[in-house]
């Protein structure tokens, strides 16, 4: 029943999910904001890639840096001028605010691009090894997703900026005492979250058909990945993404795709109750 093909499908899907959720996870972990805009940002990235592909003939893997930079700017400005004003408010306020912004963006997407599902068809053929078949476009998207996620990991580990972000996540007050301005870090972090969303959007555009309605699904997946793996860390998002990808492909074959989603949410609840720090998180490290 569970053969190599299913496992590999799960891993490919999982790599994409990790890239989809890592920005969401970073924003949640560092800013303590659940960014309900995240799904729409990914779809916005997908549409920008689609626009570049149809209007300019630009390959989505080439337009990816462009789209990601645009979204970085958008995210940075949004946090700087809108969200930074409510960072000290209770949980519900930031949730409601990002929900309102999401409604705005979603409506703009529907107006600008209509609700017709689009897809960028690259048709790169497929690879067959033994009994396992993998489409090349999907595989390439997954590898790019993993590379981007790895790049973010290096940024957080190696650069001054990354250390500042991690410092704010670990202890905001101590970070202030070390001369870090959390407001700036918040803006940059939200920008990076949007950048990763845009990049994920370019990859999604190649692999799945998308429409503005996909935003909600992707947001739900990000929730599951985040809670499964643990908040605010790249390895957490990676572990959560792979776990979700495997759950979906294995249970999807076994019980049908709809029930696989139920299992994914049930696992989310279970992890939330038993191991709130996530699969690879350390207890007491928040």
């Amino acid at each position: 029943m569970i053969d190599l093909q299913v496992i590999l499908n799960g891993v490919v899907l999982g790599g994409l999910y990790a890239c989809v959720a890592v920005g969401f996870s970073l924003v949640w972990g560092v800013l303590n904001v659940i960014n309900l805009l995240h799904g729409s940002l990914i779809v916005l990235g997908a549409y920008l890639a689609y626009l570049a592909f149809t209007a300019l003939g630009l390959h989505p893997f080439l337009s990816l840096p462009l789209v990601a930079t645009l979204l970085l700017a958008f995210g940075y400005l949004l946090q700087r001028h809108v969200l930074n004003h409510v960072m000290t408010e209770p949980v519900l306020v930031t949730l409601v605010l990002t929900f309102g912004l999401d409604l705005l963006l979603y409506n703009a997407l529907v107006l600008g691009f209509t609700a017709t599902p689009r897809r960028i068809v690259l048709d790169l053929g497929r690879i067959e090894i033994a009994d396992v078949v993998l489409p090349v476009d999907r595989l390439a998207a997954m590898l790019l997703a993993l590379a981007l996620t790895g790049l973010l990991y290096c940024l957080l580990r190696g650069s001054r900026l990354g250390r500042a972000i991690v410092a704010v996540r670990m202890d905001r007050d101590a970070a202030i005492l070390m001369g870090i301005r959390p407001r700036d870090v918040y803006a940059v972090t939200f920008g990076i979250g949007a950048l990763m969303a845009g990049a994920a959007g370019c990859l999604i555009a190649v692999v799945f058909p998308f429409s503005p309605g996909l935003a909600e699904t992707l947001l739900g997946k990000s929730f599951v990945v985040c809670v499964l793996g643990g908040l605010g860390t790249v390895p957490g998002a990676l572990a959560g993404g792979l776990a979700l990808g495997l759950i979906e492909s294995v249970f999807g074959v076994w019980l049908g795709p709809q029930n696989a989603s139920i299992i994914a949410f049930a696992v989310l609840l279970l992890v939330l109750l038993v191991r709130p720090a996530g699969l690879v998180g350390r207890a007491g490290f928040e």
Partner: protein, 324 residues
């Protein structure tokens, strides 16, 4: 008790009474559309007051309202298709939802903050997906038909209007009780500092579960009445994510953790949405989003917290300045 009631509360109760009478008279005032609008307003009042128990008094960011609503709708509809009379089905739905909330609450209320929010959000998703894949019981994605109330549309619309109005009033009565009882006091303590409340001997777990059950029961009954009213339900309609955010927004608009805040919030929101809906057909969700953003920045404490008296005071001060 009555003579010790603050003047502001007394005015509030009089206004609620007048409002209830006005609602009850709508079949004679306006057409079917107004009756329909009033019925759905009563449903939203029920949900907003219910959410206020857990989200307002205890400030637990619950997104489970849609779960309770959908569960009540399905429980009532299934009971009715299996031959239970309509009021019996509504009662069954309320009890079923209450039991569900009690058992769920004892598990999920251990979480705090964002984690609780996500957990309650997951419940909605699980129930929605469950309702659309359990074909034998719920009819799956193709939905469920509920027997139509005999007696013609005019009679039916009045029955549902008065049922929803009665439910809203019962919920309001429960809200008054909670607001004045030690339960409400304990929940406010949890809102301010849960650990300290627990340290001072307040049984926080028990209070939170009771508040959660309160926030579920009336919504469950409302869902069942809704199912009988529209006589057709399906998973995406019953377990709406939008609904689960709209209700807290209404409460925040009026003022969370107060008795009259949810009522004011629902009325303001309903009128606003009706206006927006009719004048911006293409961009209504965008305008709704804009309203939410403006609300968060301009009215952080809700309509009730606006210092009207100060405003008037400042105005009269100005007047005195200009006309000496």
């Amino acid at each position: 008790m009555m003579d010790r009631m603050p003047a502001r509360d007394r005015i509030g109760f009089i206004l609620v009474g007048l409002g209830a009478i006005a609602f009850a008279l709508t079949p004679w005032i306006g057409g079917n559309y107004l009756v329909r609008f009033t019925t759905s307003t009563c449903l939203f009042i029920t949900m907003a007051l219910s959410w206020n128990f857990i989200g307002g008094y205890a400030r637990y960011p619950s997104f489970a309202t849609a779960a309770f609503f959908g569960l009540g709708a399905y429980a009532g509809a299934i009971a009715q298709t299996r031959g239970l009379a309509m009021p019996g089905a509504w009662l069954f739905a309320a009890v079923f939802t209450a039991i569900f909330a009690a058992s769920l609450g004892s598990v999920i209320l251990r979480l705090r903050g964002h984690y609780f929010a996500v957990g309650s959000f997951a419940i909605v998703e699980i129930l929605r997906l469950g309702a659309s894949s359990w074909h034998g019981l719920t009819g799956g994605g193709s939905g469920l038909n509920v027997p139509i109330l005999p007696g013609g549309p005019d009679f039916a619309s009045r029955v549902f209007l008065y049922s929803m109005l009665a439910l809203a009033l019962v919920t309001f009565a429960a809200a008054i009780w909670v607001d004045r009882s030690s339960l409400g006091f304990g929940l406010r303590c949890i809102r301010q500092n849960e650990s300290a409340a627990s340290m001072l001997g307040i049984d926080v777990d028990r209070l939170k579960i009771i508040a959660f059950v309160f926030s579920a029961t009336f919504v469950g009954a409302g869902g069942a009445i809704y199912a009988s009213w529209v006589s057709y339900i399906d998973p995406t309609d019953s377990f709406q994510i939008l609904l689960t955010i709209k209700v807290p927004v209404m409460v925040l608009l009026g003022g969370a953790g107060t008795l009259f805040g949810p009522l004011i919030g629902v009325l303001a929101f309903q009128v606003l949405e009706e206006r927006i809906w009719s004048s911006f057909l293409e961009i209504h969700s965008g305008v709704l989003g804009l309203v939410i953003v403006v609300l968060v920045f301009c009215l952080p404490g809700g309509l009730l917290a606006v210092p009207y008296r100060d405003m008037f005071g400042r105005l009269s001060f100005l007047r005195r300045e200009t006309v000496p």
